[in-house]
């Protein structure tokens, strides 16, 4: 039977609502309002995990998001499992299951614990030093490390929960709902600022609402009572929105913050279904008020990590807020007054407090006197030199501290205890402040880093700004609110504060032991098992930069980013290296403040919403006819149409033959289409294409090649002149958006004098391409009154026509070398047009073909595909397309670059055809090409860019880029592959119908 350490009824715990949950397979009970940590502590469970490196038993240290030790796996083995969750942040619910991480077979008996006894062999940089040699062994080491290390297990099936993103705009964002945050939010919202107040906890009030120091008064009330009234008054302020369970993860520039709002994690499974689990708030605030509070520091002494050793403030919170005593024999160890509040909190509830060990010589505050009066023994100028108890603290040993604090003297006293509260002072939570890009300053007296400045759109108030006493907090907050909100009255003007708070503190970063440092384990970073001696070793080995020491020792590199121990690490480095902490600088706190699940980050953009699909108007037909699809940019394009179980090769061979022998039909709707209008449209085309456009007659089409300013081919396509000042340009499918962007750039920035207007019409038209000798017969059937004679409608020309009463634009253009037409109709008629063509083509055995056949057919003709046969290093000259580069035009984009010494080199890679000596061998695209086989190293001349088996030529064909290739016609080269060398011959890239006779067939 486990002990029940519930000592007090608390308004935050609903004792009528009992909840059962499982931890490491065992059932426990808690109450509504408990965290997993408070419920375990109420059941006297301290041991919750094992440390990362030494597998030392570890317990709950804190009561909040800074927790380094109590890291658990939630709902293990389910698809809702989540690793690395802080037990101090999990609100329990009926049916919750959690387990320890980083231990095997169990937290009670952990085989890895042997590392603890081997620890002299695991110094700082152990992994770096040990696994460097031999390099080839790394894979074996990695396997070992990955299996013995690791915090938690990732889920193995997809996340069933729904996540959401929301944009939020406000005048004032207040982060943190402690006393300062609440007062700031209240005054901002009452002065007509649209205000959002967020806090990571489920209750407002921060630490003030469980404040128990009877000597502090605000308006003659205890601070907690006073603040509860203030919180009550927040309700009903109309400009104020309050979000609890909402943790700010990141603070970016221009007051852009990301916060995670937790909506269902505290609910039973049956209430989670179909609800949004977490929402990522993307907040843009005009002003940000940071009221993030302060984190209590531990003290660094020998064996300061045992289960039962906790922050003093956490013990107070468990006692006052959750009504739980963390131990039955308690000791406090402190360098300031705050531990006395915790001691009294327990004493007042009848819990045994054995002693307070204080490294100061004395303190005269009222609360210290009260502890004395209570008969609790105080050891002044004493320090803990060791602790005992493997799975639970059972005693501490103390000795007298020397005056300079560097050594201990006298005899050792042992005090038996099961819980130790440690109070090392307070560190302002400046994490979000630094994320926003602002700098810190070091306060030598208080030994804390503080925000260097408040700006007009950001202030830090309360203890995160360095004010720890209630009177300081209220006075400074009052002034800052007036300044930043530009108001002259607040509700803080006439508040009366009485306090008994002393800032007296004796700061010693590393407390001495009677044993030499090498024989002690003073942990600085609990989660990563970095000790003070690791830090000192790093310094001895020559590390100086704080960032280097951090990486070498892994201090501050855990999921908690060293929220507790970073200051001590800095202090120890400064003391050892003999520099001032202010000069040392700090490490960088990076977002997120606490870890986020991937679900929250991606929100709704999962599954089919991960990336946008674009589908053509004929898509349904392709699906119904069992097309295989390929992704081209965001487009889903029909790839090939297998029938009767054909392989891709069989389908493509059949489609390619049909397109040349009778008629093929292709969905070309994805081609980019840009409508170009304006009185300077022709001049504009002259400047952006390599060839001349002024003389293109209305109703004619022309192929154009577009370069970058560096002379490299950028895009290509056919442009048609629709009218005197009107063109329609087509681009490659993938290049459409970029081409439009580039053209707009030139128009707006280089040539604003040109009267030209560009409109993207890609989605407005559906395009059906009919290809082959029977294509004309189909057009004749569907548009009987159109004169299709070569005289009236020659190759590279355009006609307007009607199919029934649907307007269409028909271009007689060809990407296959066959007699072909491209019919463009308004997108919504696309499927209808496609089906009409299929019907009309039935008697010619019309064959739908996909992108693969399109690529094969164009390769037979040696037509390039930008992006496949070019890669951003190919000029038109390299492509042997000199014919398209105008000699007469004074200028066009990229022209000057064609005359640079580099682009005129003869030995550039040039586009050629390749034929394999064995016509049945099809080369692999990307395969390297060489001229000598006996060389070593072998010189690569180029590579294969396109390769197919051509059914129309009944042999393998390929396009390739080869260094100096244009002068290699007929030369024998080799394509060396894994198991064989393939003999190839350089050929004309136009493999089929070199005289272009098919165009008019």
């Amino acid at each position: 039977m486990t002990k029940n350490l519930r000592v007090k009824s608390s308004k935050y715990i609903d004792e009528t609502n009992r909840i059962s949950f499982k931890f490491n397979g065992k059932t426990y009970r808690g109450f509504k309002g408990d965290t997993l940590a408070s419920a375990l502590l109420a059941n006297d469970v301290h041991l919750v995990g094992r440390s990362f490196k030494y597998h030392r038993p570890r317990g709950i240290m804190t009561s909040g998001s800074e927790e380094p030790n109590a890291i658990v796996q939630i709902n293990p083995g389910t698809n809702r499992t989540e690793p690395n969750v802080r037990a101090t942040e999990v609100e329990i619910y009926e049916g919750l299951e959690a387990s320890s991480q980083n231990c095997w077979p169990s937290v009670e008996f952990d085989i890895g614990g042997i590392n603890n006894f081997l620890s002299p062999f695991f110094p700082a940089g152990f992994y770096y030093k040990t696994f460097m040699w031999p390099a080839s062994f790394w894979e074996k080491y990695e396997f070992f490390i990955r299996h013995s290390a690791g915090l938690g297990k990732s889920p193995t099936s997809s996340d069933p929960d729904i996540y959401d993103h929301q944009n939020v705009h406000c005048d004032v964002l207040v982060v943190g709902a402690g006393m300062a945050g609440i007062l700031a939010a209240k005054n901002a919202s009452k002065n007509n600022f649209k205000t959002l107040l967020v806090d990571e906890k489920n209750e407002l009030g921060g630490s003030t609402i469980f404040e128990n120091n009877e000597f502090n008064k605000i308006d003659n009330k205890s601070p907690s009572e006073w603040l509860k009234k203030e919180i009550e008054e927040l309700k009903g302020i109309k400009n104020l929105e309050i979000k609890t369970r909402t943790s700010v993860a990141a603070y970016h520039q221009y007051n852009y913050l990301l916060a995670r709002e937790n909506l269902t994690d505290h609910l039973e499974a049956k209430y989670k279904t179909n609800k949004i689990r977490q929402r990522l708030l993307k907040i843009r605030a005009k002003k940000v008020i940071l009221a993030t509070g302060a984190l209590e520091r531990p003290l660094i002494f020998n064996n300061n990590d045992r289960p039962g050793i906790m922050l003093s403030s956490a013990i107070k919170k468990y006692s006052e807020f959750y009504g739980v005593a963390c131990g039955s024999k308690n000791v406090f160890f402190t360098n300031n007054d705050s531990a006395y509040e915790s001691a009294l909190s327990l004493y007042d509830k009848g819990i045994n407090v054995e002693a307070v060990i204080d490294i100061r010589e004395q303190s005269e505050s009222k609360i210290v006197k009260k502890v004395k009066e209570a008969g609790i023994k105080i050891y002044w100028s004493h320090s803990i030199v060791d602790t005992a108890g493997y799975k639970r603290l059972n005693s501490v040993s103390i000795m007298k501290l020397s005056n300079d604090g560097t050594s201990v003297t006298g005899s050792k006293i042992s005090i038996s205890c099961d819980c130790l509260g440690v109070a090392g002072g307070w560190t302002p939570a400046v994490h979000l402040y630094t994320q926003s890009g602002n700098k810190l300053k070091f306060d030598e007296e208080k030994k804390i880093f503080l925000p260097k400045q408040n700006t007009f759109d950001q202030i830090s108030v309360g203890s995160c700004g360095g004010d720890f006493k209630i009177d300081e907090i209220i006075n400074n907050l009052n002034q800052m609110l007036k300044d930043t909100l530009n108001i002259n009255k607040t509700n803080l003007d006439n508040i009366k504060v009485e306090i008994d708070q002393e800032n007296s503190k004796r700061n010693i970063w590393l407390l001495p032991s009677d044993k030499p440092l090498g024989k002690t384990k003073p942990f600085v970073d609990y989660q990563n098992d970095a000790t003070a001696k690791d830090i000192k070793l790093a310094l001895r080995e020559g590390f100086r930069s704080i960032e280097h020491v951090k990486r070498y020792t892994t201090t501050g590199m855990g999921t908690d980013q060293g929220k507790l121990g970073n200051m001590h690490a800095l202090g120890i480095i400064a003391d050892t290296a003999g520099v001032k902490m202010g000069e040392l600088g700090t490490t960088t706190f990076r977002p997120p403040y606490t870890p986020l699940t991937f679900g929250t980050i991606v929100g709704r953009n999962v599954g089919k919403f991960f990336d946008i699909f674009r589908r053509t108007p004929m898509n349904d037909w392709h699906v119904e006819n069992k097309a295989e699809f390929e992704n081209v940019g965001q487009w889903k394009r029909a790839w090939y149409y297998p029938i009767n179980g054909e392989t891709m090769h069989q389908a493509v061979q059949r489609e390619s033959k049909a397109a040349r022998e009778s008629v093929g039909i292709l969905d070309a709707s994805t081609l980019g289409k840009i409508d170009i209008q304006g009185s300077d449209a022709s001049e504009f085309l002259n400047r952006v294409y390599t060839n001349a456009w002024s003389k293109l007659a209305i109703g004619k089409c022309r192929y154009g090649l577009m370069l970058n300013e560096d002379g490299m081919v950028y895009d290509d396509g056919v442009t048609t002149r629709l009218g005197e000042n009107h063109y329609i340009m087509t681009t490659t499918t993938g290049g459409a958006a970029n081409v439009l962007g580039k053209l707009e750039d030139y128009l707006q920035t280089e040539w604003p004098e040109l009267d030209v207007y560009l409109t993207s019409v890609t989605d407005h038209y559906a395009t059906v391409s009919l290809c082959g000798p029977n294509s004309k017969k189909i057009i004749k059937k569907i548009i009987p009154d159109l004169d299709l004679s070569d005289e009236n409608f020659p190759h590279m020309s355009f006609k307007k026509a009607n199919i029934g009463n649907i307007h269409c634009r028909i271009m007689r253009i060809s990407f296959t070398g066959e007699h072909s037409y491209e019919i463009n109709v308004q997108a919504s008629y696309g499927k209808d047009l496609w089906e009409k063509c299929m019907d009309a083509g039935k008697e010619f055995n019309i064959t739908p073909y996909g992108t693969e056949t399109m690529h094969l057919l164009r390769a037979e003709k040696g037509f390039i595909i930008v992006g496949q046969d070019t890669d951003g290093t190919m000029t038109p000259i390299d492509l042997q397309m000199n014919w398209i580069v105008s000699k007469k035009k004074y200028d066009f984009i990229g022209k000057r670059s064609l005359y640079r010494s580099d682009t005129m080199r003869e030995d550039r890679k040039q586009l050629v055809g390749l034929l394999t000596d064995d016509p049945n061998i099809v080369l692999e695209e990307g395969a390297q090409i060489v001229s000598e086989l006996d060389q070593s190293p072998i010189e690569m001349l180029g590579h294969v860019t396109s390769s197919y088996f051509s059914p129309n030529l009944n042999k393998s064909i390929a396009l390739a880029v080869v260094r100096g290739g244009k002068d290699m016609m007929g030369k024998k080269l080799f394509v060396p592959m894994e198991n064989k060398n393939i003999n190839v011959t350089v050929a004309n890239p136009v493999f089929y119908d070199e005289k272009n006779e098919r165009l008019n067939a």
Binding site: H252, Q253, Y254, N255, Y256, R284, G437, E709, D710, G741, E744, D745, Q748, T749, E750, P752, Y890, D891, K895, R896, S897, Y899, R900, S901
Partner: protein
């Protein structure tokens, strides 16, 4: 994440914009008159300053207009925004 004041649309989130490199590099009017070195200077050489830099930006997912921005690259402070063709503000 910047908040950028598009001169045509007003304040918008950075994700609507595309950065377009250094501003005020005019395309030579007579490229054929230039030596290889002079052309390379236009084509390749960019400053990439730590400090106050003049940049081109495009409201790509908004009005598609290009404009200029003066930005301190060391702290990302946007010091000024002005339309294409307008004179840069004096430092």
């Amino acid at each position: 994440m910047f908040l950028i004041n598009c001169p045509y649309c007003g304040e918008r989130d950075q994700q609507e914009f595309k950065a377009g490199g250094e501003a005020h590099i005019e395309r030579p009017k007579q490229p054929t008159e230039l030596s290889d070195d002079e052309w390379a200077e236009y084509l390749f050489m960019r400053k990439n300053i730590k400090g106050v830099q003049f940049e081109r930006w495009n409201h790509a997912h908004g009005c598609r207009k290009w404009f200029n921005m003066v930005r301190d690259t060391s702290n990302d402070e946007i010091k000024a925004i002005y339309k294409m063709g307008e004179k840069p503000p004096s430092q």
